[in-house]
């Protein structure tokens, strides 16, 4: 845990350059990535609860195993569906834009396109962790106070993120990060044409694997604000994820303890 705090601090200090200069946007974003994402292979449980017009319409539980690529720094994830019962033990592998779905009942490994969604409102990329600093170029657009997910006013850097790689889920992002500690507070995700796809609030910060991390993301649809998904993250644990697991041919084998 100390190591991760050290990394966050080091990134901020490195970005600050000479004393008194504003930190670089990219370094703030990297520091915020380190808050959302554990620095070693890990597993967690994600619970998604979906609301339409104030009424709960769906609920899913998933277990996610993630490991960063040593070269690209980007995460590869294995996702196991836990509930509801009809989807239990189905699997998804996400390695960049290489997405595979596996159903143990039919033994079918089906390649998915990034646009195919298996989980209602949440894009497949939303349920796994992403190092934004690897895929987006950040600029500080403003320093302003915004209300965070707990309705507290918070001084934030507003970053404008532009995709540097075509194989990302969102074309550009506005992201508000706490100016005092780089914690993600809020983000708005856009299409190439500038249409708002969704708004996300990062909240319920709790100590997880040595760092205070957001354990809940509230996603609000860009077109229909009455369409809301609450994603809760729990059961964080360090887990060894061997490289051989992160391929299509391992999906029929994946049976975590």
């Amino acid at each position: 845990m100390k190591f991760e705090r050290f990394i966050v601090c080091a990134l901020l200090i490195a970005s600050a350059g000479v004393a008194g200069a504003a930190p670089s946007a990219q370094a703030i974003l990297a520091a915020s990535d380190a808050i959302r994402n554990p620095g070693k292979p890990f597993a967690l449980t994600v619970t998604l609860v979906e609301y339409r017009n104030g009424t709960q319409v769906d609920s899913n539980t998933l277990t996610v195993y993630s490991k960063a690529d040593a070269n690209s720094g980007q995460f590869r994830s294995l996702i196991r569906f836990v509930a509801p019962a009809r989807d239990a033990n189905k699997l998804m592998l996400k390695n960049g834009n290489d997405l595979w779905f596996f159903d143990p009942a039919s033994k079918a490994s089906i390649r998915l396109s990034p646009q195919q969604r298996l989980l209602g409102q949440a894009a497949n990329g939303d349920v796994v962790t992403v190092n934004l600093a690897k895929d987006y170029q950040a600029q500080i657009a403003a320093e302003e106070s915004v209300l965070d997910g707990d309705r507290q006013s918070r001084r934030c850097y507003k970053l404008a993120l532009a995709a540097v790689s075509p194989d990302v889920t969102y074309h550009h992002i506005e992201m508000w990060l706490d100016a005092s500690n780089s914690r993600p507070v809020k983000a708005r995700f856009y299409t190439e044409s500038g249409q708002l796809l969704k708004t996300a609030y990062y909240r319920r910060y709790q100590p997880q694997l040595g760092v205070e991390r957001p354990t809940e993301t509230v996603i609000i649809d860009g077109l229909d604000p009455n369409w809301v998904t609450v994603m809760r993250f729990g059961d964080y644990a360090w887990r060894d994820v061997p490289e051989v697991w992160l391929q299509r041919d391992y999906l029929p084998r994946f049976k975590p303890e």
Partner: protein, 417 residues
Amino acid sequence: MRAPVLVLLLLAATAPALADDEDAAALLLADKTTATAEQSQDWRVYVETAARESRRQGAGLALHGGRASIDARFDKTFAPGWRAVFADRLDMNRMDGVSGNRDINTLKEAYLSWQAQPDRVADLGRINARNGVAFGYNPTDYFRAGALRSVVSLDPASLRENRLGSGMLRGQTLWNGGSLTALYSPKLAQQPSDSVFNPDLGATNQRARWQIALSEKLTKTLNPQWLLSGGAGQSPQLGLNLTALPNDATVAYFEWSGGRAVSLAAQALGDRDDAAFRSRLSTGLTYTTPGNVSLTVEYQYNGAGLDRAGWNALRRGPPAAYGLYRGLVANLQDSPTRDNVFLYAVWQDALVKRLDLTAMVRYDAVDHSRLQWLEARYHWTRVDIALQTQLNTGHSGSNYGALPERRLWQALLRYFF
């Protein structure tokens, strides 16, 4: 009275300060969320009841029937590195005017798996070893022959799930970005069995077979799978599975199998040896719209099936020969004719949440007959209800026109434990 007023005042003061009121409403909703993570289960069990009405080709009276099924799947790691898998289904059918009113148990899988190291695995038992990236026709799915014991739906997903595995020993080694799998499936029985609870090894292990599969990631997005399969009484067949991502919304796939083989007609009728190099192919695209409708179009080629002239000749010839040919092709889950087109569309959360619509068309490009299938499925947490309809059209003796039923309706109720 003061407290509600105070709350209202607080809300009135807070909400406008948010970027917009909808965000505040969403966060209030999230505050009230009490859902907790569920625990994973080793068992997945469901029961299903179905009622159906069908009309035979050439109209006639409606026939009614019913089915009750229980489907169980068990998958447990019972010791470090050791895993047991068991999957079974019992269908109890009752149908007007049909002699085949019977119960059928399908022992889909029963095997032990030993993972000595993260990259070395061995399996022994009845295993559903399935290959193929295509949707409607899988030339590289070499172990599909004889695997169907009870057909409850013509949806390809159902046909893949409700089938017999083959008895085999299988080993796999994996490395970063690739794997090599070898399996041997011995001859274990002489004849298929109709007996209700017979494991029916005679359907799947009538002769010895083997298969080798090699996958290697060549680039970030290109990961072909090569297969070599053979067995007693057949020449080795080479297979290839390949997928690509032309854009964010489209998956393209290509599945091919080829090798020296006799035609299906020669195999069925035993009247000649016409062994030659023959290819089977299935290739297509799946496009997903922004509204999450996935549309698949697939072209299917069967080089061992009959071309137009051969198919027409068989249809005009002795009914016994025609029956033998259709029986063999159905058992092999192959296509009787050379060229076919397959369309498949899935719309998740169609118009309303939890309603999934699935449509399928199988078009025989040789005799122009068609099979059309449509399903509307609504699901709650533990219960599915579904309505399916199927229409088979075509001239007499054509691929789909010869199916006994012209129109079929089926209503289903499924409960997950």
